[in-house]
């Protein structure tokens, strides 16, 4: 293996450019051997290096009073008071999930969970954001079924509740499903662990699963687009073992308590390579490892294969010299393999031995901080010049809007997500106070008076039709969901899913989305503490919508502030906060009824949104709000319907009268931002109105909750009507139909 001659073909197969190869030769002062070439190829892959996105990511606000650790570590860490910190991150596993949906999604969960407990935190919640092609195509149904079972299979076994998330369907995700997994953990503020190797001479310990040939070059696979040969990449997808991960989780948390763990990092993408050089790089040290000591699953593995394997459920630790036996014994107690494979050195190199043979010696920093960085060409896409040409008034008004409404609540996009979340154990650990289905999940923290609210949001279509505005909306909506649940947004993580960065139009959208997110994060004072970028989400030249996903976390200060989306009692007043503008561009209504994806996405005014959230929060804290539900895709009609369907009373209905100052279909299905529907006790209206006026937020009474019937009028005409329990049953089981 050592003697493999590095040819042009080999360099190309490793996804390295000629320029990048030259740089490697310069750094090393010689030609690399094949192992070294492999190491560079994974570390300089888009997936590991962020070489196309780094210059943009720097623009995002990452600092704040509450931030203990921003981007650059395994996960972000945020102070929530009471000497506790939350550790959270979102990560994509898109490419593997397309090739092998079950294992791809499962190992996505496994990876993000390791990132969290590696930092010393006990993982307490999972969420996921999913995108699939239309369910009218069987292939997409199969992918979705596999992905959901994969997430369930892994997360349920670990005993971490999967408390929420979101799913969208669009043609652009056919062949490019997105699987973004979020995990949140809780730790003592003063015992956070980092992926740093320090203390020259400290032993490096390998724990967990044995190293096999699976997943070699996974990171490189995730850094290229798919073609008709993608099926052949199946062996590149790793196979997960959640049981082993559960043992690893418990054993690591026990090991941390000894106080002897100096640094720790999981072996995710690029396995042993990435964990060893990153730990050295962050600690400003070197690491020497001997591959003869690495526990192997198969015989005859070469150094190249060992270094590049992505076998799951493995960790690398550095511990205090002399304490290795105590640490190893803890892992043994949990029936896990653990052994010393090397030590921390002072030369800033990654040194890889195979017994007495030197197989690689590379400066750490050249693999991490000093990897190539690109400012890729950008170009505004041509289609964006045409979107504003769209005049919605030219569209005819459909004859039967009730039919449109019925179709909507029974479509995959708007029906209940019950089919998904009932497959996830969302109650284990007995902290889930607000179950899936509401605007945000709310968890208690045993022993603390506060609660955590969390939500995932991102609308690719909005970003496609106005990237910057779409970026703002992703942040604004995730904050709105937190506030609707009674919380104050604290900090966020993001997962940026895009097509090829080598396409200047994709890069332009990327840059715009980041800019939008930056503005919104600054407005809501929610720093981004980490996340992940996934490029090359395209198959045979067809890319996905630019899809940023925001994972927002907030704090609910008091139990009585917890608010849910479902109406509570018959006869409550239904109040709309915010202004109806009847925006129909890029809406679901336009797509469902007219089969068109056109027009600018609804524009958001961040100041207006800020005021809305401020007003709503004050109303909740003052105790006036019985239910609150954010108005998003599908407009007012869907918001009202969901608040009925999510009620604990099966026959909860509404009688609503909307003004006729807008076209009826635009009024019902327009997707204007910065709107929330709340229900209150009628007697509280004056006080609620007073708060709205103070914040300069438009407020209107639009109706009352009733028993049994769902009725919505615009002007004098009753457009939407039906038996609410019947509609609820349709909505509740619509998704099941696709999986029978």
């Amino acid at each position: 293996m050592k003697d493999v001659k590095i040819t042009k073909e080999i360099i190309e197969q490793h996804g390295l450019t000629e320029g990048e190869y030259k740089r490697i030769v310069e750094i090393l002062g010689r030609e690399p051997n094949i192992t070294e070439l492999g190491i560079y190829s994974v570390m300089w892959s888009e997936h590991c290096s962020y070489k196309s996105s780094r210059i943009y990511l720097k623009r995002l606000p990452t600092d704040g009073e509450c931030v203990i650790q921003g981007p650059g570590e395994n996960a972000g860490v945020v102070d929530i008071g009471f000497n506790k910190a939350i550790v959270f991150k979102i990560e994509s596993h898109n490419h593997p999930s397309f090739i092998e949906p079950y294992q791809g999604a499962a190992t996505g969960v496994g990876g993000i969970v390791r990132d969290i407990f590696t930092m010393g935190a006990r993982p307490i919640a999972l969420m996921n954001s999913l995108r699939f092609g239309p369910l009218s195509e069987k292939e997409n149904v199969n992918i979705m079924e596999g992905v959901v079972s994969g997430i369930a299979g892994y997360g349920n076994c670990l005993g971490i509740p999967d408390v929420g998330g979101e799913v969208y369907f669009d043609k652009s995700y056919s062949g490019n499903p997105l699987v973004n997994a979020f995990c949140l953990g809780i730790a003592d503020k003063n015992s956070i662990f980092y992926g740093k190797a320090s203390g020259v001479g400290n032993p490096v310990i390998y724990v967990g699963s044995r190293t096999g040939r699976d997943g070699i070059h996974g990171a490189t696979m995730a850094s290229s687009e798919f073609d008709e040969k993608s099926e052949e990449k199946r062996p590149n997808v790793q196979v997960g073992d959640p049981f082993l991960e559960k043992l690893l989780l418990e054993a690591c948390l026990e090991a941390f308590k000894t106080g002897y763990v100096v640094g720790i990092q999981d072996m995710g993408a690029a396995g042993l390579t990435c964990s060893s050089c990153e730990m050295g790089s962050r600690g400003d040290t070197g690491i020497m490892i001997d591959l003869e000591k690495v526990p192997l699953r198969e015989e005859g593995m070469t150094p190249y294969e060992i270094m590049l394997s992505e076998s799951q459920e493995r960790m690398l630790l550095t511990v205090e010299k002399g304490k290795e036996d105590e640490i190893i014994n803890i892992f043994k107690k949990w029936d896990l393999e653990a052994c010393v494979i090397g030590e921390v050195t002072d030369d800033n190199n990654l040194t890889v031995m195979m017994g007495s043979d030197l197989v690689a010696k590379i400066p750490n920093k050249s693999l991490t901080d000093e990897c190539p960085i690109y400012k890729r060409p950008v170009k505004k896409p041509d289609y964006l010049d045409e979107v504003s040409d769209f005049d919605p008034n030219e569209l005819p008004v459909p004859g039967d809007l009730n039919r449109v409404f019925f179709d909507m609540i029974s479509s995959p996009s708007h029906s209940s997500r019950r089919w998904i979340y009932e497959q996830y154990d969302h109650m284990v650990r007995t902290n889930t106070v607000v179950l899936p289905g509401s605007d945000a999940a709310v968890l208690r923290i045993k022993g603390l008076p506060i609660f955590l609210a969390m939500s995932l949001d991102g609308n690719g279509k909005y970003c496609h039709f106005d990237p910057k505005n779409g970026g703002k909306i992703a942040v604004a909506e995730s904050c709105r969901n937190i506030v609707c649940s009674g919380g104050k947004p604290l900090a966020a993580t993001n997962c940026l899913n895009f097509a090829s960065p080598e396409n200047p139009e994709v890069m332009w959208c990327f840059s715009e989305v980041i800019e939008g997110m930056r503005e919104a994060c600054e407005m809501f004072n929610t720093p981004i503490t980490g996340g992940n970028v996934s490029f090359y989400n395209e198959t045979m030249g067809e890319g996905i919508f630019p899809t940023p996903v925001i994972g927002m976390v907030g704090v609910v200060r008091d139990r009585v502030h917890i608010t849910t989306a479902g109406f509570k009692d018959y006869g409550d007043m239904v109040v709309l906060l915010g202004k109806n503008r009847g925006h129909i561009g890029a809406s679901d209504y336009l797509e469902l009824v007219f089969g068109e994806k056109r027009g600018l996405s609804p524009q958001i005014d961040l100041k207006e949104e800020f005021n809305l959230q401020g007003a709503l929060y004050e109303m909740i804290v003052e105790g006036y709000v019985k239910s609150a539900h954010d108005c998003s895709e599908g407009g007012l009609a869907i918001t009202l319907a969901e608040s009925c369907f999510l009620s604990h009373l099966r026959d909860m209905g509404v009688f609503i009268e909307l003004p006729d100052d807008l076209r009826e279909d635009f009024m019902l299905f327009g997707e204007d931002q910065s709107r929330v529907v709340i229900s209150i006790d009628e007697d509280d209206f004056d006080r609620v109105k007073h708060i709205a006026e103070k914040w300069n937020v438009p407020i209107s009474t639009i109706g009352f909750t009733t028993k049994g019937k769902f009725e919505v009028k615009v002007g004098n005409h009753l457009f939407l009507y039906g038996n609410s329990e019947f509609l609820r049953n349709i909505w509740k089981s619509a998704l099941d139909e696709y999986f029978k």
């Binding site: 369930a152 076994c157 005993g159 049981f243 949990w334 497959q423 109650m427 284990v428 007995t430 045993k446």
Partner: protein, 234 residues
């Protein structure tokens, strides 16, 4: 004071939940029992919690039934000790032959997590003497919860009054729609013939505090408390 032991197998994941309810909600003296140990530490009451012991490899609960701690628990149960196996714990009790029958894959072949209603079939037991409601609302979360037993043995089980909980409508009707997993006779929980060992699929520890949407599950722990207290006084 009542002393409760919560068993930890590799892969148990409702161990902390059971511990929390026992210690902080019920105020029992509570200890964890490690699967490799044989010592029950003088507990009056044993909970075998849910989870995926040994990853559910081979068969759910199969490997756990051979552990050192189960040897002691079998003896404890034979001597009349109170044991509850919840979810995977129920599976372990079946595999250990402390209870009859088997749990096979749910009829829809998927994991199901949701609140269900279960009807209390008998009230004069260590587990139900304080149930003030006929129907309890308690969540399930399992992939293999379809209770199965040969017809003749099933008849025997019914005749002996060993069926303690059945999936029902909120009004207590036993219907097919109310049966989430296809269990024979809508069975959600059974006891051994002597009545001191309970296995159930629903998770009472997840429904023991108002903030979690239901505290019906607490009635089961209250019943155990009352039973043990009376026993202690005698």
């Amino acid at each position: 004071m009542i002393k409760c032991g919560v068993v930890i197998f590799p892969g148990s994941n409702c161990d902390h939940d059971a511990y929390h309810v026992s210690k902080h909600v019920m105020d029992f003296e509570t200890v964890f029992l490690w699967h490799k140990d044989e010592d029950l530490k003088g507990c009056d009451f044993i909970i075998i919690p849910g989870g995926f012991s040994y990853g559910d490899y081979l068969r759910c609960g199969a490997i756990a039934s051979f552990s050192p701690i189960m040897k002691s628990i079998k003896k404890f149960a034979m001597d009349g000790g109170i044991v509850i196996g919840i979810c995977n714990g129920f599976q372990i009790l079946l595999e250990s032959s402390l209870l009859p029958g088997a749990l096979i894959k749910n009829k829809n072949l998927k994991f199901i997590c949701k609140f269900v209603d279960i009807r209390v079939e008998k009230q004069d037991t260590p587990f139900t003497n304080s149930c003030t409601k006929k129907v309890l609302r308690i969540p399930i979360a399992h992939h293999d919860g379809c209770y199965y037993l040969e017809q003749s043995e099933l008849d025997e089980l019914e005749k002996n009054g060993q069926v303690l909980f059945r999936y029902s409508t909120p009004d207590g009707e036993i219907t097919e729609e109310a049966n989430p997993n296809g269990s024979l006779n809508n069975i959600a929980g059974i006891t051994n013939r002597e009545g001191n060992v309970l296995g159930m699929m629903p998770h009472p520890e997840r429904a023991s505090e108002l903030i979690l949407g239901s505290f019906d599950g607490k009635m089961i722990f209250n019943s155990v408390y009352n039973f043990l207290k009376k026993k202690g006084n005698n």
